[in-house]
């Protein structure tokens, strides 16, 4: 039988999420950025511009600009708090873990590496909102691809 009962809204709109939505961390322009990606969700108009300063395969600094719903903006805000100082490999792992959590993987949802991002686990029960939560990480993946592509070009 299809379960049509409501997933509790409280699992979606936790205080931590609303706090990041109201007071986003690392919001602004990063003047010495090495890469910038604009990611849009064309169906709803949400957008995030993610700026990274990458040095020696490490994210030295990160900022974002954005406009969108509480889920997309809180998610990218939390993401930036975890990225500073991390290696690109670690950032890629975080993105993969987070994406798994969004698709309902309960083990990923317990991964302490995800930190505050675990408060977004409830989004998995709202299928139409999963894209919102992933927008920042989509921008991150694209930024890393761009960075690595440029490195290869430079080496090649």
């Amino acid at each position: 039988m299809i379960d049509r009962s409501t997933p509790p809204l409280k699992s979606l709109y936790q205080q931590l999420i609303l706090d990041h939505y109201r007071k986003p961390r690392n919001r602004g322009e990063l003047d010495d950025r090495t890469v910038e990606v604009l990611m849009r969700n064309p169906t709803c108009g949400d957008e995030i511009t993610l700026q990274l300063k990458v040095e020696d395969e490490r994210i030295a600094d990160v900022k974002f600009l954005g406009d969108g719903c509480s889920i997309s903006q809180a998610s990218v805000s939390m993401m930036t708090t975890l990225l500073k100082g991390e290696s690109l490999d670690k950032a890629h792992k975080l993105a993969t873990r987070f994406t798994k959590m969004m698709h309902g993987d309960e083990e990923a949802a317990r991964d302490p590496d995800l930190g505050n991002l675990r408060s977004l686990a409830g989004v998995a029960k709202f299928p139409v909102r999963i894209k919102c939560a992933l927008l920042g990480f989509d921008a991150l993946q694209e930024a890393m691809k761009k960075t690595r592509g440029e490195e290869e070009d430079a080496e090649g």
Binding site: R4, S5, T6, L9, L12, Y13, L18, R22, T43, C44, G45, D46, E47, D67, G68, C69, S70, I71, Q73, F126, V128, R129, C132
Partner: protein, 416 residues
């Protein structure tokens, strides 16, 4: 749309029984369906028409001499006549079946545009158009070298009609493409006046009637339209069927839009001749069941009385506007006077994104739309990236509007 002299009020509870989909619980609450500008629900007589067509009469049209083909052709052409009557067209040959409004507009932009537009010509659009009445014109402009001109909007979401004479004075506008009713603002546009000015300047007018035809009586001749496009699924019909109405001499002069069976008269190795109107524009096996169902939808709406639908919607709009305007931090878009708008109420709430509003309302069984509503120029004009939008139809009740307003109180509690 003509103002109507006090018709008997529409009682939504009397028609709700015709819409089985409305009788359901969503997330533990009765469904309040307020997303009618996106698509409307389908009454039992239309559902039965689809089933009856496939159960009893299904055959290809205009091809066979067997009984079923005769019946399906009669049903298909009968539906065309019903739709012609619905929009006040005397000649059913001017009614072309399409996949929907989008295809109808693409047909004109492509077939009329290719034959009539050249470099330096101008196409008049407005900042409130749905993307389906913008992008086809951008495509034909790129192909022909024609330029796009825009009528802008005032602060209340009405067209700045005072700018029109200046745009037309250049003498280069060949066609205007204007929405009858804005899906993003609810504004009912002064189509007749726009038609008058365009015609005086030697230009044509296409009216995007996707939000017009479903909600009030339409008379294409009285409107002064040269083309009128609309969709079945926004007026109690199914998806995948729509209509282009065009003046006969314009359609006759236009080249075909697509080639294939059904649209030809004679085919030789290196040339073909075209079928008579409207078949010239209906290549391939059409959406026969869709057309038949759209005919049934027109019968249904005729039975309810199109003039009563707009009045009913405006009552709901008035109730919604009063409730919304009393809420702090709520901004409503579109004309303040309910008489100037159809049943579309877009709004934003300070500190809460429209998607979050829509999710919270959905958890209470209230279905609204949130986003840019395929009208990004409107969002840009009013400095927002998205709005929440409630839109009404004949089966919506005052209780539905109360549920919307109550839901917004709980949005405020969460986002407070």
């Amino acid at each position: 749309m003509p103002s109507v002299s006090t018709p008997d009020a529409l009682d939504p509870s009397a028609v709700r029984g015709d819409f089985p989909i409305l009788d359901q619980q969503v997330h533990g609450h009765p469904l309040a369906y307020l997303d009618n500008a996106a698509t409307s629900q389908t009454p039992t007589p239309v559902l039965e028409a689809i089933q009856s067509y496939y159960r009893n009469d299904n055959a290809n049209v205009h091809r066979g001499i067997h009984e079923l083909s005769r019946r399906s052709t009669d049903a298909y052409e009968g539906a065309r006549m019903k739709v012609a009557r619905w929009i006040g067209a005397e000649d059913a040959g001017e009614v072309v079946w399409t996949r929907g409004t989008t295809e109808a507009i693409n047909l004109v932009a492509s077939a009329w545009g290719a034959a009539n537009l050249e470099e330096g010509d101008e196409i008049l659009l407005t900042d409130m158009e749905h993307h389906s009445n913008l992008v086809p014109w951008q495509l034909v402009a790129a192909r022909t070298g024609a330029r796009l001109r825009y009528l802008e909007l005032d602060d209340e979401g009405r067209l700045r009609l005072e700018d029109l004479p200046g745009i037309l004075a250049g003498g280069r506008v060949r066609i205007g493409a204007v929405g009858h009713v804005s899906n993003a603002l609810g504004t009912i546009n002064p189509v007749r006046e726009i038609a008058r000015q365009l015609h005086a300047a030697g230009a044509l007018l296409l009216v995007d009637g996707a939000q017009g035809a479903p909600h009030a009586p339409v008379d294409v001749a009285e409107l002064g339209a040269d083309f009128y496009a609309f969709s079945g699924h926004k007026m109690c019909g199914p998806t995948g069927i729509g209509v282009l109405w065009g003046r006969r001499e314009l359609l006759e002069a236009m080249p075909p839009y697509q080639g294939g069976g059904e649209m030809i008269s004679e085919v030789q190795r290196d040339y073909s001749t075209w079928a008579e109107l409207p078949h010239k524009f209906e290549a391939g096996t059409p959406n026969i069941a869709g057309a038949v169902a759209m005919g049934a939808a027109v019968d249904y709406l005729d039975g309810v009385g199109p003039e009563r639908i707009l009045v009913h919607e405006q009552g709901l709009v008035r109730q919604a506007l009063e409730g919304l305007q009393a809420m702090p931090g709520v901004r409503v878009f579109g004309p303040r006077d309910p008489e100037g708008r159809a049943g579309v109420v877009p709004f934003t709430m300070e500190g809460t994104h429209p998607h979050d509003i829509a999710t919270i309302l959905d958890s209470q069984g209230v279905a609204i739309r949130a986003g840019h509503h395929c009208a990004q120029l409107v969002m840009k004009r009013y400095g927002v990236s998205a709005t929440a939008r409630a839109s009404f139809y004949l089966y919506n009740t005052a209780d539905d509007v109360d549920r919307l307003l109550d839901g917004l109180e709980s949005v405020r509690e969460i986002f407070g």
